[in-house]
């Protein structure tokens, strides 16, 4: 039994890495079946990733004049930014907190704790499967948007370093968001109105992830606050890599920040979860 596995798994769990991987794949398959069955629900949630940024893009398109540049973006750059946000947000923004809070509030989390596999793997499998369904909805929607906005599109001309950084930023951004939202979900161990807190968190997230506006368009003092928060590393950093405006040092700096935030998120998640589970033991029979 590995030290990592022993620390991560629930008390009853045998945690050989190979066994955990097999369980993860099985759970992924089961979650995929579940997500496929509820694909129409996935389509409704997908609208939340698609339409608000699309609305902001339409607003910007009405604002651009001939040759104007806004916050460093020409009109084509702005279109590409929002299309990037739609695609990356759909795929990289997990939402484990809602299910987590529901299970904690209803007492079903006890069943999760007794499952013989690491908790992170359990939650990750469900989230990844649902992202697969979102991808099914994203592809045709993205194709329609790309067709309508074709005159503004051009293939990014990036160096190999940029492509490598982009590919690395995808899982790192996802894990950063995943661990931080798990912490948010664990708030339900203490709060009865966790949903209200989630809506607050979504409001803050919308500002600092660049979902509605590119961060460069925000007032300077808001940008300064955003520098100290993890949200920009969810997917905004990846959109900036695709723009090709970051130099090699900025790429390294961004990737290092993603690793740091993901690691801090993981450690903090475990601390919060341990404290929460001790409290949770007081409920149920």
């Amino acid at each position: 039994m590995s030290a990592t596995g022993a620390a991560e798994a629930s008390p009853l769990a045998p945690s050989r890495p190979g066994a955990t991987a097999r369980k993860f794949v099985r759970l992924l398959q089961a979650s995929w079946q579940d997500a496929l069955e509820y694909r129409l629900e996935g389509a409704v949630w997908f609208l939340y990733d698609l339409l608000p940024p699309l609305g902001m893009l339409l607003l910007w398109l009405g604002a651009y004049r001939e040759g104007s540049v806004v916050a460093g973006y020409d009109v084509a750059g702005m279109v590409q930014y929002y299309l990037g946000v739609i695609a990356l947000r759909t795929l990289l923004n997990p939402h484990p907190e809602w299910d987590l809070a529901d299970k904690i509030a209803t007492g079903k989390y006890g069943n999760v704790l007794l499952r013989p596999m690491p908790l992170v793997a359990y939650h990750l499998a469900g989230e990844v499967a649902w992202k697969g369904i979102r991808l099914l909805w994203l592809i045709p929607s993205f194709a329609v948007c790309a067709f309508a906005l074709w005159p503004y599109l051009e293939a990014p001309t990036l160096s190999p370093a940029h492509w490598i950084a982009f590919l690395l930023s995808i899982p790192l951004g996802y894990l950063t968001a995943f661990f931080l939202k798990m912490i948010l979900g664990y708030v339900a161990f203490w709060a009865t109105n966790a949903e209200g807190i989630f809506v607050f968190a979504i409001s803050i997230e919308m500002v600092f992830t660049g979902n509605f506006l590119p961060l460069q368009a925000l007032p300077a003092w808001v940008q300064a606050i955003g520098e100290w928060l993890p949200f920009r590393y969810f997917y905004f950093f990846s959109t900036q890599i695709l723009r090709g405006t970051l130099d090699d040092w900025a790429l390294l700096e961004g990737l290092a920040a993603q690793v740091a935030w993901a690691t801090a998120g993981y450690v903090l998640m475990r601390v919060v979860r341990s404290a929460g589970i001790r409290r949770y033991a007081a409920f149920g029979g």
Binding site: L54, G62, A63, V199, V207
Partner: protein, 280 residues
């Protein structure tokens, strides 16, 4: 037996009595919902704050756009305040009146709770649509009205009584149209079954109403004006109070609201024919 089911078989009471009965029921529901919300005052205060902050953020996002540009089409920053205020007012009035019922309708159908509703001596569509009121959303609606008024003050525009009347009619028509479209979108649960979040579909769709419809081009402008008339949620009422609406806007909005409610009732009746109860 529902009113819909009884029509044509048993002579019903006079129309004025039906309207009076539904009005009294609605008042009783409003009193109940208010009492329920006031019982949990801390939660109500938190929710009021949350919804107001959320509305403020939506307005702030658009306002920030004007830190970077002078205008969106013909819409200057102050005009956009009027549009965003109107959008916030109309959307939150719709949420206040229908959010809880629309988001619960799926579970009402899937759990078989609808059986009980159908036995009540009132219109089933009326009952499932209005039996919960989210008072917390009246705060952001008032906030939206304030933002619109602030924009009018900054513009120095004094609307005439006719413009104010047109604005009120357009806002009410927009709420009614939004309700009907939302209700029809939720009815899909009768056929698909597994669509628990059908009620959540409306929020991202209506967010497109923040875009001034006259800045859109091509088929999208036609769709958002005539097919899915989101132009009448924000842009057109704002134009009315600014005194730049066109003569056909008000009658068209009223007609759209009437047709949308009629269509929602027809679809509801059709959906009920597909309903075979879910309870034991």
């Amino acid at each position: 037996m529902t009113v819909e089911a009884s029509t044509g078989t048993i002579p019903g009471p006079p129309a004025w009595r039906v309207v009076r009965r539904h009005a009294r029921l609605y008042l009783a529901i409003a009193r109940y919902c208010l009492a329920r919300d006031l019982e949990y005052r801390a939660s109500l205060a938190f929710n009021l704050l949350r919804e107001s902050l959320y509305a403020l953020l939506q307005v702030a996002f658009v306002d920030i756009v004007f830190l970077n540009v002078d205008a969106v089409g013909d819409w200057t920053a102050d005009r956009m305040l009027v549009l965003m205020g109107t959008y916030t007012l109309v959307s939150n009035l719709t949420y206040a009146l229908f959010w809880e019922t629309m988001t619960r309708l799926s579970s009402v159908v899937n759990s078989g709770e609808l059986d009980l509703v159908l036995t009540k001596p009132v219109s089933a569509q009326f009952y499932v649509s209005v039996r919960r009121i989210a008072f917390m959303n009246f705060a952001p609606a008032a906030f939206g009205a304030g933002i619109a008024a602030w924009g009018m003050t900054r513009l120095g525009v004094n609307p005439s009584p006719g413009d104010l009347a047109a604005y009120a009619i357009l806002c009410v028509s927009a709420v009614v149209t939004c309700y009907a479209l939302w209700f029809m979108s939720v009815l899909g649960v009768f056929w698909t079954g597994r669509l628990q979040n059908a009620g959540a579909m409306f929020e991202p769709v209506v967010s497109l109403a923040r875009v001034p419809s006259d800045t859109l081009r091509g088929p999208l402008r036609v769709v958002l004006t005539f097919v899915l008339p989101l132009a009448f949620v924000g842009t057109v009422p704002a134009q009315a109070i600014l005194g730049i609406a066109e003569a056909w806007h008000v009658p068209y909005a009223i007609g759209t609201a009437v047709v949308a409610v009629f269509a929602s009732n027809r679809l509801w009746r059709r959906a009920l024919r597909s309903y075979s109860s879910a309870s034991s």
